[in-house]
Symmetry: C2
DNA sequence: TTCATAGTTCGATCGTAACCGAAACATCGC
DNA sequence: GCGATGTTTCGGTTACGATCGAACTATGAA
């Protein structure tokens, strides 16, 4: 009766609370050191080291040594998608550690999800792009329209270059705090990058939240209006 | 630092080999008894009972008691999607228990995936529907075209009724054996049901494989041609 | 009623994995 | 070279959970 892929192995890898916390933290897209990850896992450095070795052996993490630090990241986007999808699932069942109250308002307003914008602002951006006809929602998926391609060129996104990569251009990502879709894929990444480059927003040191400057906030809301 | 949904809990639930085997077996869509599940898990009934209780408490399983049997199924489609997505992920990393050789040829040709057709035939059906313009592939997602709606009515699928349900009509499902997409969603389910109703194919007793009759095979291949 | 089958609960055993202290190893700045 | 910081390895403890035998409950059949 044993057939098919071995999901128990990766389930067990994710199943330890300390490891799950580390993976969730790395969903922030930023590379973190072993010491930092020990912090988020609530364990000592030695224990963290052993966990990280297991995660790496299981193919979930990649590490890059740089000087006397060791930076860990998720192995690739597939891992990020897996983690996010499990978060979505868990959130749907009410397996929450904190009730989704108004805590951490900055995190709910705008945060990074691997490499693109999530939270309130992420949802707003996608809604606005769909309303303006820049992105078409068909079934589960998303597609950039010609209008969208032109509009995005206007704000400095080189869509041609993104198209040539083999990573999907548009992807919808369901996030746990909003329970609504926001824009992932290379286009989602490019948009967030452009906001950061323009100085409209910046990442915070120790959290997944994205802080918009007053000016950036104004520009963002102007660029992605929503009716109502 | 503790924020967001608790993925460790469900990871741990899936992380035990016996439980993972049970869940994988239930991906077949058929309700199984505790004794049958003990069999696929390779454990005694007592142990299985304890595992099943945990899975139910975790919201992954639902049970229906019927006479002196207790039938277990996956709690809902979301669970099925989660398991399949983990299988897809694991398969992509080569975490296979069996090398994907030509073993179990019937399983690779046609099998059930929760409630729709997967395997070689599942992939062929979706390819053919796309090639004939019945279904449009846009980005990640799938959408039924007007032509497709008419064509399907011709073979006895009541698309109108499906549309009114809140379950998505078309969904693409990536399966581990082919590594290619096949058709899920209520339409995928309806198509498989119609094949079974027409007597073109039948489910086997103890496996996920679907057996086509010689006549059913002929009809299926005629209905869903592929060039090449 | 009695027997057989299906399943759960209890209790005890056992193995494994998480954990941390201490020490070793590596890299940087001086 | 030296000490300081970051990380891994080793050894030993501990705790949890998977496992199964045995007893118990529930349903159906004779």
């Amino acid at each position: 009766m044993k057939e098919g892929p071995d999901i128990a192995q990766i389930g067990a890898l994710i199943g330890d609370p300390a490891r799950a916390n580390m993976l969730a933290a790395l969903t922030g897209g930023r590379a973190l050191t072993a010491t930092e990850l020990a912090g988020v896992g609530g364990i000592t450095l030695q224990t963290a080291s052993s966990h990280l070795a297991k995660l790496e052996a299981g193919g979930l993490l990649a590490q890059r040594k740089q000087g006397r630090h060791r930076y860990f990241t998720l192995a690739d986007e597939a891992v990020a998608r897996l983690i996010e999808s499990m978060m979505g699932f868990a959130a749907g069942r009410g397996h929450l550690r904190h009730r989704p109250g108004p805590k951490e308002p900055a995190l709910r307003k705008a945060r990074i999800c691997y490499d693109h914008l999530a939270g309130d602002y992420g949802v707003r951006m996608l809604d606005s792009l769909i309303a303006s006809g820049s992105i078409a929602a068909v079934g589960d998926g998303l597609a950039l329209t010609e209008k969208g391609e032109n509009d995005l060129k206007g704000i400095g996104i080189d869509v041609g270059a993104l198209k040539s990569s083999r990573r999907p251009l548009c992807r919808s990502c369901l996030d746990w705090s909003e329970r609504r879709a926001h824009l992932a894929g290379s286009l989602g990444k490019a948009l967030l990058s452009s906001f950061l480059d323009k100085g409209w927003a910046r990442r915070t040191a120790e959290s997944r939240s994205i802080l918009f400057s007053p000016e950036g906030d104004r520009q963002f809301l102007r660029l992605f209006p929503v009716e109502g």
